[in-house]
Amino acid sequence: MVKGNILGTRPETDPFEDTPGSSWSITSDTELRWDDRKKRMALAQPLFLVSIAIVIGFYSPLILFSCSVLILLTIILLPVLSKELEKRSQEGSVWKEVQLTDTSCSLSDDKKYLQCKTPTGQRHLVNMTLTNVESVLMGDVSALVRAVDDSIGFTLIVTMRPENIQRALDEERIPDGLEKYFNYLKKGRMNAYVLKRGGIWLNHVNVVGHVQDETGVMNFDSAVRAAIPLDKWKRANPKDLQSRLHQLNVNGQSAWFYASGEDLANWLVQLKSELASEVGSNIPGQFLAPIRGRPSDYRLGVTINPDTLQTGPTVGISHSELETGTLLCGGTTSSRTRVLALLTSELLRAGKRVVIITNNPDSIGLTRLSEGSVHLELGRDLVLNPVDAEGIHRSEFVPLVISSLEAVAAADLRGAADLEAAIGRAVTLGNATLADVHIPNGLDDSMAGPTDVQQPPEQLPSKKSMTGMEAIRSLYEGSAAKSFYGTQTVPTSRLVEPNLSVVRIALGSTGLEHFAWNIMSIKIAGLRPDPNLVVILDGAENFRVRNRRYMQHDSFTEQVLKKLKQRGPLVVALEHPVDMAPGAIATLESCISLRLRESVDIKIAADLLGLNVITTGMHTKARISPRESSFLRIMDNDTALLVHDGMETCQPVRLDPAPDLSPETITSEETRRVSTLIDSGTSSTTHHEGSLLDRVSAGSTNLAIRVLKLLERYEPLTEEAVRRFIVSSGSDNNPDVEAILARLEHASMILKGHEVHSGVSYTNYRITMKGSMALRQTDGLEGATA
């Protein structure tokens, strides 16, 4: 049950809080409380004062009397005094008296409407009244709302007064048929009947239009008449309106709360719950436009009335919408780029960082949006290393890579154990590339000898694994090598450092692009959550899973999208929304749609944009009726539909003109930026206190030094000998042989190799360059302390 308040139910947000600093001097200090109104002064307080006064009067009436006189005098003289005081202070200041108020209303020349001068310009007020209508009111509220220019609001006042039935009978207002029926009833029964049918009411409708120009006055008149086609509409006398406005003291700058026109209309829209029952889901085929823009939004354009093509306030999407995921669909490549460019420039202005992954061949133009932007092309400046987990946990990363690989292998790779193990090994290596992915070759074993035919067949890698390996080989040996083979030139964490990075993915084959997009998405999803980094995926090939052979990618893309969303703000741009998996679409909560042509696309978009109304009849199945979904087909290129913050309906937007995106000739400055990005990625050395060995060996530094020194002299030394050495030289009891070797090897201070003696293969260790450097560093440190 909604709690009753004097101004109706409490709106979700206090409209005053985000009112822009308008010239209407509205103060938020209104004394108005929505539901926590306080009672003034408890009764005890005045009683106490009175009793004190009585006591004082009892003992010394003179004091009381003189006090009363003093108070009375003060009250009487106060206006005069204050006026005098104010006058004096005004005279002392530089203030000048302005004779004219900032808002004034006067009759128009033809005396048919009111002209209002407001600080924001001239307005025209027109008042229409409707009295003495029939009991049945035929009208089309929606047509009224659509036809009336409500950009600065209008007032609709419906007055209802209960009418005495006897008087109504006397004044012959009851239809004859009913009157006859009443005649058969007794008085008590008649009242009961009337009460049961809802009572008899005296109605009066008063509409005040608030229009911007003179032609609007006539439009308003006709709009109202057209919406409610009754001839009893009358243009009220503007003088009455003027006097009523005068009564309201519009002219005076008093501290009264008032809201008229625009603000009141805003209220109406803001009060969603109220509106819903009247204009909400029952209005067929309508768009709802907000009455005013939100300044904190990233502006994309202005609202437009699709019927009248009148433009309204600015519209954009908010940061929270980006955080819940935004889908940009439809349109042509250039129109999508326009939206993205608008959004990006707004984001940059707001101090966010943006990374755009795109397949757009003209993507280089986007770098015009920011001074410090970088443009990288996969395969040219950027190498994407699919076995570099970049901080993502292996158990999470490897399955994702395998799923991505399915696009390249064009086969289902689930359950390819050997493949998974091989990729896992490569990922663990740390500095591995695709060429390090190997399945231990079991093929040779099968040919080893005649008696080995009983060899268990599960030793062989499965067919799936082999297919996967083929795919991997094609990635580093085929034409894709330029994109995927090698250490990652720019780690993803560095890629997102500039305020705008544009990465272009164009590999020529859908399979490869799919893979590239997947890996890119996985890596970006693995970044630390950062609300100030906005990821824009423009034309994400990997989310296009319609009619593909690997249908299990439905859930895969959904999973990837969810991870991307968890990371932070996300925009996915795709021409055909229907290409996406349904689950994936559901993860994106807001949508900007450009023109769509295919009916399948429209079906999806209509759902997203709230253009379908689902009415649930009591006894019938749910029905879906389209609103203006056909509008999607015929929209102009510069128009978009936008759905916002989970609102039920969407708004048409006229997009702002696109920023200049014509590609410049590449400056040396930009090449420098790219090259620093690439170079600094490879030479990221961290400096820590203490020697490298101390950190690597985790406590057993001495032992590590001894091992390194041994190897420095006797490398390559067989693994057995090194182990023996550690065991027998460890003065500390029970040295952890495995640990020390594993640590040193992992820190690439020692390198495993193999040697063959008389046909037997031995594993050996040798010291690496890094190992000798660490040793030298330790020696240096010791020398310094000595």
């Binding site: 580093y476 330029k482 390198l751 594993t763 360059m769």
Partner: protein
């Protein structure tokens, strides 16, 4: 001239007394001047009487009052030849000696013999120890000289020949070789007259059989032979396989014997002659079925028994490992090769020469009209590979059938391998006293077969020898043709984008001039199978059979060497398994600088050289010796180095075996049984152990490690006590 004719008549007389007359290749070599001291090389199939050529040459030396040395690759072969020669010539006043193993002894006692039969390694050890009597050598016979192609021992043999030629004047070299490709190249290097013979006593038919069930096909082949009253030898890759196959065939083979044959066989096995032969139960029961297995794990006597029975025709089938291949004269009608993968490493295939040496046994003179050499292949691809590698295929026009003509590998020098080079560098330095690297490269090694071939071969790399410092560019030169290197230097092979550069891998994309794109990398990482990944290129043949890199890799390597400097110098040699021989020797303290930029071996280096230790063994011993303070640790070290030298993987039971041997009096045979080892292996291990213990004690003495010296000497003495007499009896 009278002298010469005198010698030749004397030799002919001696031969006549021994009951032999020269024929075939023997008379050819005499014609070419064998008895006048001419260097001769004979290349002919097994069974053509090569050994006798060697014997004649040795007799010539003896008649000239010089000594003769007969070198063979295997100890068993040495024993066989020693016995034959002793039988033939000892009563004629020619003393024949035998020396195998025993690298720890100086070999002075061999001075009393006119002819010494020995293995390559022992001869090398003798030469390194500079035994006095070697200067009196007149003739060296090198049997099975094609062994020079083998990794490891090939380099030692080559170095031995170079040093023999260098240090002994007027030395006659007689090289005996099975059929190989391009024998004239080797003959030219040796300075020998070449005598070539393709003549076989029995014609041979080769066949490659594709089967998906090796066991069944093998059985069919064997049984067909046996039913036709022929004999068969089946070669296997491993001992286990050989034994298993013998057991599998036993029943079927046994069924083919008539009761008389069986009785004769049983009688022979139970005869007095075989009383002292230890045959395992398993083998004995197989022998009763007329089948046997044969490998180095059997005791010496058991092997000889098996061979004798086979020669007498009492057993029909031998399942053998490749040890039977070299030298032994043991023909059979059908020879089957069940797998042509190398025993040491299944990823490598046997060389053509080895394969043909095995198959060449097919056809027993006097018994068979035709011999069959069969290779079993598991798949069509494998069969094609076998045909491609080992045969020239000719299509017989009359019946559209393929005729396989054996195709032999040429003999390649293995001296250039980094592992061998460091050892040989030390050997040469010890021989010369002191020398500069350039002297050695151009002097002694300049005379090597390696350089000899490289000069004549247009496909040899730009640089064949590298003893000193090593860098990425030098390594590339070691693995690329001169033209490729020139082109790469001029940067005309293609563009390179380096994509990987870290401590272990250098990789990149090479875009060749025609736009082709290749992914190449040098990786020093270990692959999952335990081998270094090495060079990889997406063109498919990163390294060809001669070890030459494809030109994409050369391009990458050059670019990396220019761009990355030190890192490339580190990674690329590692990836190509190259290291600086000199660097290693200096690091281990075996070589030091002398005056005038010369190098000389240290005291340690000289000792090691004479101990005949391989460099990896030295490295392991030196690294661990200071840590060896107790018997357990010493035993561990011993086990480790024994397994490196012998190529057997040993576990803790070796330690126990040695302790048992020293502390108890249980006969070795019983010990072997108790530990589940083959008696032949156990003797081999003890022999190696004695030598290495001796080496350890010498090294600890040099290093001043009293405790280790004491321990190792004690152990060595104990071993000597237990084993001293045993060896003689067994041989």
């Amino acid at each position: 001239m009278t002298m010469v004719s005198d010698v030749s008549t004397q030799v002919t007389r001696l031969l006549g007394q021994a009951g032999m007359r020269p024929r075939g290749v023997q008379s050819d070599s005499i014609k070419k001047g064998l008895l006048e001291g001419q260097n001769i090389m004979v290349s002919s199939p097994t069974g053509s009487g090569k050994t006798l050529v060697g014997e004649m040459a040795l007799l010539r030396a003896v008649t000239c009052d010089k000594k003769g040395l007969f070198l063979v690759p295997l100890r068993a072969l040495a024993v066989q030849i020693f016995k034959t020669m002793k039988e033939r010539y000892e009563h004629l006043g020619v003393s024949v000696g035998l020396s195998t193993g025993d690298f720890q002894s100086s070999g002075d006692e061999l001075a009393e013999f006119d002819i010494v039969v020995t293995t390559y390694e022992r001869a090398d050890s003798l030469l390194r120890r500079r035994s006095d009597w070697l200067s009196n050598l007149g003739t060296v016979v090198i049997d099975e000289i094609q062994t020079m192609s083998e990794l490891g021992r090939g380099a030692r043999l080559e170095s031995l020949i170079i040093r023999l030629k260098n240090s002994i004047e007027d030395l006659q070299i007689v090289a005996l070789s099975a059929t190989t490709g391009d024998p004239d190249e080797l003959a030219e290097w040796l300075g020998c007259q070449l005598i070539q013979s393709e003549e076989r006593p029995v014609p041979l038919v080769h066949k490659v059989v594709t089967t998906n069930n090796r066991n069944r096909s093998l059985k069919k082949l064997v049984m067909t032979t046996v039913q036709g009253n022929g004999q068969a030898i089946v070669f296997h890759r491993t001992r286990r396989e050989a034994e298993a196959q013998a057991r599998r065939l036993a029943e079927d083979v046994g069924r083919q014997f008539t009761s008389e044959e069986k009785k004769a066989l049983d009688q022979d096995l139970g005869s007095v002659e075989n009383w002292n032969v230890t045959l395992s139960k398993d083998l004995r029961s197989l022998l009763h079925n007329g089948i046997a297995y044969h490998h180095a794990g059997l005791s010496y006597n058991a092997r000889r028994t098996v061979e004798r029975l086979f020669r007498q025709g009492e057993i029909k089938v031998i399942c053998a490992t490749t040890t039977l291949a070299a030298g032994m004269d043991l023909p059979a009608r059908t020879v089957i090769l069940s797998s042509f993968k190398s025993p040491a490493d299944y990823r490598q295939l046997l060389s053509a020469n080895t394969v043909h040496q095995m198959l060449g046994r097919a056809g027993r003179p006097g018994h068979d009209k035709i011999g069959f050499g069969v290779i079993l292949a598991g798949s069509t691809g494998e069969a094609e590979e076998a045909k491609r590698r080992y045969f020239d295929v000719i299509l017989d026009e009359s019946n559209e059938k393929e005729i396989l003509i054996p195709h032999y590998d040429r003999i390649n020098s293995t001296l250039g391998h980094a592992a061998s080079l460091s050892e040989q560098l030390l050997v040469v330095l010890d021989m010369l006293g002191s020398a500069t690297i350039e002297d050695i490269e151009n002097g002694i090694f300049g005379d090597s077969f390696l350089v000899h071939c490289a000069i004549r071969d247009s496909k040899s790399p730009m640089r064949v020898l590298q003893l000193g410092e090593i860098s990425a560019k030098i390594v590339l030169e070691r693995h690329a043709l001169p033209e490729t290197i020139q082109a790469a230097r001029k940067n005309v092979l293609g563009r390179t984008t380096l994509r990987e550069k870290n401590e272990t891998v250098i990789g990149g994309i090479v875009t060749s001039l025609d736009g082709g794109q290749f992914t190449c990398r040098f990786s020093a990482r270990l692959s999952a199978s335990g081998a270094v990944e090495g060079a990889m290129c997406s063109c498919g043949t990163p390294v060809n059979e001669d070890g030459i890199l494809c030109h994409h890799l050369v391009t990458l390597g050059m670019a990396a060497a220019n761009e990355l400097g030190n890192m490339a110098d580190y990674v690329i040699p590692l990836a190509l398994m190259e290291s600086s021989p000199l660097g290693l020797l200096i690091r281990l303290g075996l070589v030091e600088g002398a005056t005038d930029g010369k190098l000389k071996p240290t005291k340690l280096g000289r000792a090691i050289n004479r101990l005949y230790l391989s460099i990896p063994t030295v490295r392991e011993i030196l690294a661990l010796l200071p840590m060896t303070q107790s018997t357990t640790e010493l035993l561990w070290l011993l086990r480790h180095v024994v397994s490196i030298e012998s190529g057997m993987s040993l576990d803790e039971s070796f330690d126990n075996l040695v302790s048992f041997l020293i502390t108890t009096q249980i006969p070795i045979r019983d010990l072997a049984e108790q530990f589940g080892m083959n008696i032949g292996d156990v003797y081999g291990l003890f022999d190696t152990s004695r030598w290495l213990l001796h080496a350890i004690s010498v090294l600890s003495d040099l290093g001043g490690l009293a405790r280790t010296l004491e321990l190792s000497q004690g152990l060595a003495d104990a071993l000597d006590n237990r084993l001293g007499s045993k060896f003689e009896e067994d041989d």
